[in-house]
Symmetry: C2
Subunit: 274 residues, 2 copies
């Protein structure tokens, strides 16, 4: 049996990070974040074991979920406390009815520099760079698609929102914890870093010059994407090769998640990685 | 100048359908629905003029939006009343701060039968069928992707949610008003209707037999998709050809919108329609 610590008082300081969980995010406070649900919990356990820069600090579970989760719980080191509470206490802690009853606090212990991240990539590599994306759903989707199509890293400029936000992490189905990433610097700095390493860099845009299926394969490829409405700024588009996804004329552009999904799928196919 | 009717009283019965708009949906009440925002308003005007089965009943606009919308407003017939209100009155009507200030009530005047819908398709045709999708976002995304890649119709079984729900319509960027669709019957009934017309029918599934890029083109193609978690039921998958989207092993399946987007893009490409 798993060793658990029972919480009877919603104000117990040991579980303070979980209080009123819906109204706040922990991001920005020393790299801490909230992981919700079984799938993300499993990814956190994997990331912790892999020493990939993420650690689990504590878990809080609905008491009747524990037996069904033994398998995942066993993957966390013994010094990560597992708090359990009744449904009534748990709802008081988090401030609403937490149906799924699975929460954890994680921390990003190390954030790689762009140089470190790019140095550690395999020879045949695919990187996604995203600029200025403040929508939590879209950031999460980029990671989910990056994982699905085997991208090796995600680069975010400092104007992107933190992918460890609760909603982004959930939408990513935990992929934020598995796909190596950095979030730092300006667009120009990230672009310079890619250019100095001889990446074939493709900016995704409805006005792109090359249809995505015609993009030539290259051992080191980077796909750049901007916000859903505005897209990539002109000074970026003029500095890189540009690709479009064929679609019917006269319509709004594709949803950002769908567009990066299609582009990553096509490029991964061309690189022979699927 | 556009003729408008000024509303001073939030309880004015002429604009009763807009009251507390966030807490309810009009769907189910005689086919009425709420259109929000400039893009959807433009699609509603087009649908009304095209006599495609949708009519606009009334508009409610923030007073300072009117002059910027003259172009779209001019496309509605003169007998569609355009109500305007100050920001304070509008917020009282709808029950929250309506930043964009553009609302309309539309009505689906005619709902085609499956037979009518299939009868009116072009010779080279692509149809999307979706079964059991209750997520409003996913229904909206299916329409957005269907429009982007030129699908000729969407078939929904009766277990799908109504695509005229506020959120679905918004996520579809108004495509629910432009892509012909029916929502009726069981999965088996819809499948029978497609089979009796010699469609090449492909069910989308992570366990599909053929990778989506290897699907053979056919003049009449139907792509079937199920819910994000469960997918299509076994009895459907055993009755049709099945296609998968290549992805890295051991991961969750793709997001439903991304998966249908990739599949539609590939099939539209193979049919030579993009």
């Amino acid at each position: 049996m798993m060793e658990t610590i029972r919480i009877e008082d919603a104000d117990d300081p040991r579980i303070a990070e979980f209080q009123a969980v819906r109204d706040r995010d922990l991001t920005g406070r020393g790299g801490r974040f909230i992981a919700e649900g079984t799938v993300v919990l499993r990814m956190l356990a994997q990331a912790h074991r892999a020493k990939s820069g993420f650690v689990a600090e504590k878990l809080l579970l609905l008491e009747n979920r524990v037996s069904g989760l033994e398998d995942i719980l066993g993957r966390f080191p013994d010094d990560v406390p597992v708090y359990v509470a009744s449904s009534a206490v748990l709802d008081r802690i988090v401030g609403f009815h937490l149906h799924r009853g699975v929460l954890a606090i994680g921390r990003r212990a190390e954030e790689p520099s762009i140089a470190d991240l790019l140095q550690n990539l395999p020879e045949k590599t695919l990187v996604v760079a995203a600029f200025g994306i403040s929508n939590h759903d879209n950031i999460g989707s980029i990671f989910r698609n990056a994982a699905a199509f085997g991208a090796d890293a995600v680069l975010l400029d400092a104007a992107c929102c933190d992918p460890l936000y609760r909603k982004s992490l959930r939408v990513s189905v935990g992929s934020v914890l598995s796909v190596p990433y950095a979030r730092t610097g300006t667009m120009t700095e990230l672009l310079d870093a890619l250019m100095s390493r001889d990446f074939a860099i493709w900016g995704l845009s409805p006005a792109g010059h090359v249809e995505i299926r015609e993009v030539s394969p290259h051992p080191q490829m980077a796909l750049i994407t901007g916000t859903e409405g505005e897209g990539l700024p002109a000074h970026i588009l003029s500095a890189v090769k540009t690709a479009r996804i064929a679609q019917m004329p006269g319509l709004d552009s594709l949803n950002a998640a769908t567009a990066t999904g299609i582009a990553l799928y096509e490029i991964a196919m061309r690189q022979g990685r699927l």
